[in-house]
């Protein structure tokens, strides 16, 4: 396997190479982050209950993902089963959840994005995001 070379030393004698500076706002560093998203489906039964049964049983979800009383205007009935990792990953790319229309799916995703450390489903969603964009 060819050894990876160290950073070539700079020196006044080096011929002048072209160097494009680019715009100030253009990022030139991408950091590699630990990843779990690709494997999460095959390593754990990862689901997100919507809403968290301990905290919001019987609540509905509004457009911003907040828990509201059942039947509130402009809110959506929660799914009858926890949302599966596969379906969440597809919804992160814009697809609808099985049996849910576009608005309902966006409401569910808004709820999932608000999940905090300690709420059930947080780690499932966190691993689907790894690495965080």
């Amino acid at each position: 396997m060819p050894p990876a070379g160290d950073v070539p030393p700079s020196g006044a004698g080096a011929t002048r190479r072209r160097l494009m500076l680019g715009a100030a706002a253009a990022s030139t560093v991408v950091t590699i982050r630990p990843a779990l998203a690709a494997t999460v489906g095959s390593v754990m039964n990862c689901e997100v209950p919507v809403p968290d049964p301990r905290l919001g049983a019987g609540k509905w979800i509004d457009g911003r993902g907040q828990l509201v009383d059942a039947g509130t205007a402009g809110s959506f009935r929660p799914p009858n089963r926890p949302l599966k990792a596969e379906d969440i990953r597809k919804a992160m790319q814009g697809a609808n959840f099985p049996g849910a229309d576009y608005e309902t799916s966006r409401a569910y995703m808004a709820y999932i994005r608000k999940l905090q450390n300690g709420m059930s489903g947080f780690t499932c969603y966190q691993s689907l995001q790894m690495p965080r964009a």
Binding site: P34, P51, Q66, N117, G118, M119
Partner: protein, 348 residues
Amino acid sequence: MSPTRLLVAVLADPQAAPALGPGAWQDVLTVARAELLIGSLAHRLHGLALPPAVRAILDDARTSAEHGRVQALWEAEMARRALVTLGVPVVLLKGTAFVAAGLAAGQGRSIGDLDILVPRDALDAVEAALLAAGWEWVKPDPYDHLYYRRWMHELPPLTHPERDRMIDVHHTILPLTARPTPDATALIADSVALENGLRVPSPADMIVHAAAHLFADGDLAGGLRNLWDIDRLVREHAGDAEFPAALAASARRHNLIPHVARALRLSAPIYATPMEGLPIGRARWADRLYARRLLARDGWGRETRPALRLAFYIRSHWIRMPPLLLARHLWTKFRRGQRGTTSSDRAS
């Protein structure tokens, strides 16, 4: 001998290792992983004649420990860069301190979040500097902030989203509510500077803080590893004649004599730690309960003695918060629970 007893025996005396059979190895390695001691075990057994399968597992543990060491030192370095302009003393605590100071207790150790101690009056400046450098609140729940500021010994936890690492900023080493009130100012004053400007507690204070952490703010979770830290820290100064007096003085100054004494009394039977001249106080019948709790795990890695574990869990909440405050805290959490926002209690 139970797998947990075998583990602590091999840690204390690596020469006992080659005699283990496959079944014993399987259980000892499983318990070592569950107790976060497999990195330390790998370090202790390095170079000994071992079955190939055992050496492979211990080599894996060393890879993990080395990665953990690099990450811990880097997190400390990034915190140092964020805080250097404040000119405030920043004292590293727990695992990161052991590794940064190159102590035996840090070798192969699994290291969790970064814990730092800063003077109480510098807390706001430190908070602002960390937020400016990219750290964010783990839980932006205002109730949590109030709870942490008034009753816990630390800022609410911060995390750096780029590196997914958490930092706990302390201004004392025990929750304010805990009855013994250690002298954080003295700990900072006696701290030792490292080459890069960060500081670590004095050798005696490291043991006192480890004992405080072992008993005072936890339910003995991870206790076997914390006790191993204490064994390694004590042995670091085995030959130093003045050390026992320095340790006793530090324990007195921080009002933690009973914690240090009990930690030493547990370390001796479990890790055969040399005790000559150390302030171990009088043996208590409860010592046996602590030892049984620390060793309560079977060869499959499962926690055993549930009743004893529950007792220690309840005790850990009880001593961190006076009864009245505990009741109000739980009631607030319960009422908040009903309104759909939450933040579960983060075991420190």
